[in-house]
Symmetry: C3
Amino acid sequence: MLRRILFLGFLAMLLLAMVAGAWAAAPDPTGAATLKADPGKAVDYVWVLVCGFLVMFMQAGFACVESGFCRAKNVTNLMTKNLLDFVVGSLAFWAVGFGIIMGTDWGGLIGSSKFFLAGDSYDVETYLSFFWQLVFAATAATIVSGAVAERLKFKAYLVYSAVICLFIYPVYAHWVWGSGWLSKLPFGLGHLDFAGSGVVHAVGGFVGLAGAIVLGPRYGKFGKDGKPRAIPGHSISLAALGTFILWFGWFGFNPGSTFSAHQLRISVIAVNTTMCAASASLTALLLVLGKTGKYDLGMALNGALAGLVAVTAPCAWISSWAAVVIGIVAGFLVVGGVYFLEALKIDDPVGAVSVHGFNGVWGLLAVGIFADGTYGNYATKAPFVEGLLFGGAGAGQFMAQLIGAVVVIAWAFGCGLILFKVLDAVLGVRVDPHEELQGLDIVEHGTPGYPEFYITRS
Amino acid sequence: MLRRILFLGFLAMLLLAMVAGAWAAAPDPTGAATLKADPGKAVDYVWVLVCGFLVMFMQAGFACVESGFCRAKNVTNLMTKNLLDFVVGSLAFWAVGFGIIMGTDWGGLIGSSKFFLAGDSYDVETYLSFFWQLVFAATAATIVSGAVAERLKFKAYLVYSAVICLFIYPVYAHWVWGSGWLSKLPFGLGHLDFAGSGVVHAVGGFVGLAGAIVLGPRYGKFGKDGKPRAIPGHSISLAALGTFILWFGWFGFNPGSTFSAHQLRISVIAVNTTMCAASASLTALLLVLGKTGKYDLGMALNGALAGLVAVTAPCAWISSWAAVVIGIVAGFLVVGGVYFLEALKIDDPVGAVSVHGFNGVWGLLAVGIFADGTYGNYATKAPFVEGLLFGGAGAGQFMAQLIGAVVVIAWAFGCGLILFKVLDAVLGVRVDPHEELQGLDIVEHGTPGYPEFYITRS
Amino acid sequence: MLRRILFLGFLAMLLLAMVAGAWAAAPDPTGAATLKADPGKAVDYVWVLVCGFLVMFMQAGFACVESGFCRAKNVTNLMTKNLLDFVVGSLAFWAVGFGIIMGTDWGGLIGSSKFFLAGDSYDVETYLSFFWQLVFAATAATIVSGAVAERLKFKAYLVYSAVICLFIYPVYAHWVWGSGWLSKLPFGLGHLDFAGSGVVHAVGGFVGLAGAIVLGPRYGKFGKDGKPRAIPGHSISLAALGTFILWFGWFGFNPGSTFSAHQLRISVIAVNTTMCAASASLTALLLVLGKTGKYDLGMALNGALAGLVAVTAPCAWISSWAAVVIGIVAGFLVVGGVYFLEALKIDDPVGAVSVHGFNGVWGLLAVGIFADGTYGNYATKAPFVEGLLFGGAGAGQFMAQLIGAVVVIAWAFGCGLILFKVLDAVLGVRVDPHEELQGLDIVEHGTPGYPEFYITRS
């Protein structure tokens, strides 16, 4: 049934695209005219594409982190999810999502053209923009996977992947990056989010929170006394490798968001990105050390990721000392967030909500605090951005950031709640208890992750 | 004996290179003159090199996919093969192979200079071209490894690696990319293969098919009733990571094949590459789901790779909807191909023949069908390329593609058959049955892959 | 206690940075003026940043190689070390180290400004330079980790990581790359080290040697008869993947060291890098084959790395045949080095001293032998570099290289010895015997690497 719908939907989309493609003339599919008009485009394209490749590679990082932090009995399931959200998300984003972000604006709410990259979208500039937006949308999609790990039906995950890339992510991204209403708030320079602490990470994190709540905790996560129990991941080396890959990929995510190599500010962005990750990781390590006396690798890894998330919005508008300070706060937030969710009996197996949700919001606010007035925004032609600590415009900017933070939480959590509730009513979202105990690999996929190794069941 | 020959051959090559190096003047080893003549070269070099690095990184992807899909008892062997084909292949390609592709043409059949990069090859342009061609040759070489996995003597693999990079690959690549006869076929614009669906993937796939046939199936692959039995891979996480790495690397493979950043078409190529992979992966997943009711990760991974292979030839000449359609066909082909080979009792442990062979050929034909007349070929100065669905020149182009497809199958399969038959006669290609049962790691390499883990033997 | 010092030091650093930041005007934090003065900077920034990202990714490679070559019971510890040396090293290098390398020179001995990137360091050029130097410093830091693996207290490693990035590495790097005294030796063109065979690898290797000596061998490494025993690594696939990642990352390390895309010589550098790795890997494989009859993957992997290290200094000044020859020597050196250290009863679990120390020194000497007079040094405006085999200036250059080689050994080994001796006196460097037997993961980190797998204890 689901398959039939997927197949037919897919077919319908294709037909539409072919028809639409026949209608309109293609402005510059070779790129010759675009290059002639601006010879500097060659290096800009190299920059944007290479950075986009790095962002795409973050899919591998998320897959490894999530699989490493979960149990061996679900590793096939987790890898399939991480592959298929990119696969389904790409098709959904191509069909609809991109048009919602970057199509002709309707009242600041939604874009309404460029679907299927059809018609006059057959243009090197549009394709470049599509590629960039696609890898960002796919990042938001894959973040959720961690929060709902080890207990979600695969079928429901396929539908979720389509919906977030069709609608939830693109609408909010349009509001911030597609000249939508949030970008035009009458405070400061409007809501600003350089590379997506809010657009990508908070959206992913809070949809994930909704998913984790609707699903409920994994069997065994909370004891009869209500106390949380650690469910250790099956491969710390896989999780660590994944984190390194994500850190590497983030150098595409943040500096690439200038969308131009002619903004030499990219060197500042790269430095801020890595310094914030470092200070957040060290902070998280030391906090857990103070509490448990152990050097906790899991928290150091999540600390690094938290710093990367937090610096994503402000990375272009701050200098290195601010990145370090933002990272320290991120380290506290990620550790506190994990304990906080456990206290609420919410089970987020990999810490995705703390890392991406809470720190995504922190990143938005950090723009309104630390932006130091040395840099604007190339793409939107915004003048120099100032936060609370710098200049008189700071209060307005902070207000714009605060509004965006509230909106992203409400939108992502709200949409996520509706989506997972509807999915639960229609398909059921949670696997059967015996399947959960046995692991999802056998029942859903027929393929154990490590068939030759003796593995204890937990 | 073999070692002595390898050593002496190696020494002879070096002496030759040094002598040759002393003969000729080096045209532009610093690159200053080249840059002065065309200041745009700086960004072109960055583009080509970075893309080349990504292609080289695909070696890691192939190593992980192949190891993950095979058994733990052979993982040291598989990793050694994947390292050494790059190592031996690089030396062989440096000594001879590159000169065969890019050296002075002899009658459209073979190149005949630039061996050892000696003499006037000490030039930035020649070195750049060498680097690019090297990573492509090494890709073809490593594809075969998967088809002959878990039963080939390592010694034979070393010789194979040299031969494919010395001769088999370079000769065919010369025909298509070195102004050889296929590129000058009197149909359409001659045989066209943008980034190597045929040159790289079909060559690797059909040499692999020959190897798999000469070797015969692994012990236990086919039951006494003749029915194929699944031999599950030892690490699904390794295989999945490898696929992500390959997908990432393919963004070097395809867009980089413009060999110029001044072709802004690179954005279109990047989009087509990823869309075809997505649609092929989803198609393969759904096909197996329809058959078995399971979400098969192995097939989804191979589906993605099949889409990447299929789009490699046409990626520059199509728009996104065609990429999606080509991917759907690729998904059918990879699933069908796996069943077809099993029906023929051919054992291809990782599906290399289906992924690279069958889909490589499909990619060649796809050029002749979907090329939409919006783009030519920068390197060869070919005008706009048209396939059957677009314009009158399509029939001729399709014919040129068909001829190339037949030729690549005949050449690769023929050379592969001769090579493995000769190797079998001289060295023996198959390990002893007890070694195969025990795993190749102990006997050939003396190092088990996971010495501390309890592993079941299968 | 240690934590308190770390915390307070950290706080002090931050305050200093903020104060300093308030003092001075920022020359060009947006980069607009820099780009206007030289529009070619756009492509240079892309080149340097992308190469820097690749170098950063080598952290993942080192983590995988080291973990793969060690035992499962220490994998959490090894991954934590590999993460935290980057984290702590980044903060230390930001606070102090970078200023020592690139700050205002004091008598050829040390730099003395740009600490915390404060004040007028808020400039795109300075940040770019910082990013580049940071990833190199972090590489030196992480090399040591392998030599001291499986027995060092984590606390001591944290302090070590800070010290090498604060002082040991930056001082020597200043001498060679920061217009220090070694770069001005009155022989040849002064001591030359293109991408850091000496500055990065020999420093890391010889500090590691000191650490390995101070720590003593792991329990069980040498039998009662004094003979070395092999302690096999727990995951050959992880080690192999790590090596591929390192090879990939080295394409940033070496070609990126032009610090400019306008040096088309980058194509030559890329080719030399890969050819040297190939010939070293094959040489190492064949040497062990001749001795044991086995195709030893560990040695082939280390051979490739040895070749990469050896070519790092000369890569810009040689042609491909010299790279191949340098690689052959590197292959002998890495195999010989491993046996030599075992004969001295020094336990270097992953071969870091052979790979990075001995071959780092070999790379320095190779400049003085093989530099062929075709290329100079863009950054330092040095004219064409000549070694012993080419031209009359070769003897002087060789002398300069020899002096640098002696100095780097003395400096790195000396500083390392003092550091680890002091650490031993203050904190103790070696874990308790029962902890070493049980593995460091439980006691230090509370997290086993693979909690669900049955693992034999060795």
